[in-house]
């Protein structure tokens, strides 16, 4: 069965993160924008990322982003409002 664009984007995002983990100092803090299964932008500015990504692919459901150097295995605590 063919993979969806969203799935292709997520898989590419994982590959990019794996690559970046091997050279952590080279890419920390950069955002990588993916559209339709391809890396289309690398930048350290979130607004620049979104602007350029939208220019390439206006449909956000066909895009995906990762932040390099971010520890995605960490659990972030948000306490309950009582």
């Amino acid at each position: 069965m063919a993979k969806s664009i969203a799935q292709l984007n997520r898989e590419l995002g994982e590959q990019v993160l794996d690559e970046a983990r091997r050279q952590p100092n080279a890419y920390t803090g950069k955002y990588v924008g993916i559209a339709n299964g391809k890396v289309v932008v690398v930048t350290d500015d979130l607004n620049d990322l979104l602007k350029r990504l939208k220019h390439v692919e206006p449909d956000p459901s066909k895009t995906y982003c990762v932040e390099l150097g971010r520890d995605y295995s960490k659990v972030y605590e948000i306490w309950e409002v009582v």
């Binding site: 969203a6 997520r10 995002g13 993160l17 979130l46 607004n47 990322l49 979104l50 990504l53 939208k54 956000p60 459901s61 895009t63 995906y64 982003c65 990762v66 932040e67 971010r70 995605y72 295995s73 960490k74 659990v75 972030y76 605590e77 948000i78 306490w79 309950e80 409002v81």
Partner: protein, 132 residues
């Protein structure tokens, strides 16, 4: 310098932000809990909002994040534009989308966002405010 203050809701500090719904850009107001204890200064998100709001705003998806505590589990992050007109604030921010925001609020403004401003009650114990 600009300052805006909001009355407490259910005795808790809140701020109001404006979202722009896609595709027309219609503005809607959301009242979110101002929680300096939510997250840390360098966490990968600044808000917790209903995921439906994130999608209605045409949010750009980022890699998911794992939360503990009130929203235990894996949640998507979206980049969406948020405005606070009284502060002339308009920027793209990273938002965790959840299925059910805290009862009585539309979401949470986390420490990373609040820390962009000077925040507090500014002498009014019944209000919470932000100042640039």
């Amino acid at each position: 310098m600009a300052r805006v203050q909001w009355q407490l809701r259910n005795d808790r500090p809140v701020i109001q932000v404006m979202l722009a719904l896609a595709p027309g850009g219609q503005k809607v107001t959301r009242t979110v809990l101002a929680d300096t204890g939510a997250g840390a200064a360098n966490d990968p998100f600044e808000f917790v909002l209903d995921e439906i709001d994130c999608l209605l705003c045409g949010g750009t998806p980022l890699k998911t994040v794992t939360l503990g505590g009130a929203f235990t589990g894996v949640h998507p992050i979206y980049a969406i534009p948020i405005e606070i007109p009284a502060l002339n604030f308009s920027d793209n921010v990273l938002v965790v989308g959840v299925a059910a925001p805290p009862t009585g609020f539309d979401g949470i403004a986390c420490f990373r966002f609040l820390n962009r401003f000077t925040y507090g009650n500014f002498g009014d114990k019944n209000a919470f405010g932000l100042e640039t």
